[in-house]
Subunit: 194 residues, 2 copies
């Protein structure tokens, strides 16, 4: 009887619970309130088991933001292949950038900006996630980046989403956001058509 497989599955499930709890914890309590011990308790995992998976808070939190981003982007990528219109894409992105995952990433970026060792780990992660988000947005729009201005319009869309995520941090910004997204989708659509 081979016991390795179930043990590996249990270990993967524990790791995933820790990653999900780290995103929630970071989004609601910020960097200072997110330690391996706090996340382990939230995940219902012993501190020893948590430390087996993630030696430091830095290991845990950077893994959690990367895992969360990959998972959300894989989910968006798995949608039916037809290109969506600009309005639908802009709405999907706005949901992503006002989610707890974005808030968690924001806490991590800001903590890294005042901590050189953390910055060295987070800057490549931010660049990787940014490139992936750009590629995904192009795919969802079915946009052709070789046309003049398309690359920059897609980048601007993602920077706008980061700004909207930030504007949603302290208060519910959704009433202001809705007409803005409609206007932005119209401007993006015009830019994509050239």
């Amino acid at each position: 009887m081979d016991l390795r497989e179930p043990r590996q599955e249990r270990s993967r499930a524990t790791r995933r619970r820790l990653l999900d709890a780290a995103v929630e914890c970071l989004a609601s309590r910020g960097w200072a309130g997110t330690t391996v011990a706090v996340v382990a308790e939230r995940a219902g995992v012993s501190r020893g088991a948590a430390q087996h998976h993630f030696r430091t808070r830095e290991d845990l939190v950077t893994a959690a933001v990367e895992y969360g981003a990959e998972e959300r982007m894989a989910h968006l990528r798995s949608r039916p292949r037809d290109a969506l219109d600009a309005r639908a894409v802009v709405d999907l992105l706005a949901d992503l950038y006002t989610s707890p995952l974005f808030k968690a990433a924001l806490h991590l970026w800001v903590a890294a900006s005042a901590d050189p060792a953390l910055r060295d780990r987070v800057a490549p992660l931010e660049a990787r996630v940014g490139r992936e988000a750009h590629r995904l947005t192009l795919e969802l729009l079915g946009a052709d980046e070789s046309r003049p201005g398309v690359r920059e319009a897609v980048q601007a869309t993602l920077d706008l989403m980061r700004g909207l995520g930030l504007a949603d941090l302290l208060t519910d910004d959704s009433p202001r956001r809705r007409p803005l997204l409609a206007q932005w989708a119209a401007m993006l659509d015009a830019a994509l058509r050239g």
Copy 2:
């Protein structure tokens, strides 16, 4: 002989030095690294004098971000009255949102999001600064907000700037930002013309 006037002036100069030092400190060391004592030392002001002006770190930091934002916006407002083209306005705003002042504000917003008492102070400040930035951008563009889509295009411009400020936090984002701003100015210009 009336000694009150010079004493008041000295007091104002001390207060201003503390506010400037608080913005610098917050931008470079973050919320956790910004205490009244650290800011007083950076400003060359005794801790007692600093505490006379600002009893708590919360008092000092919120006053510093508000003062910095008002000063920068008053400076932009004092420019010659002619409306600028979209490109010039977008460049001025990008400079503002990639400055140490924006980084300081970002640290304050993010700290407030995980601290309910601080959030109650910072949310109205964020709303006030946001309204002022909107009004200023309309003035600089000479834009007519009663035309359909103009209000939302100006809001999107400011949200984009917040996103660009965030993208400049961990690395120098200026090479990517330049062509993006040119494209955005063209899109904004088209939206303002209707």
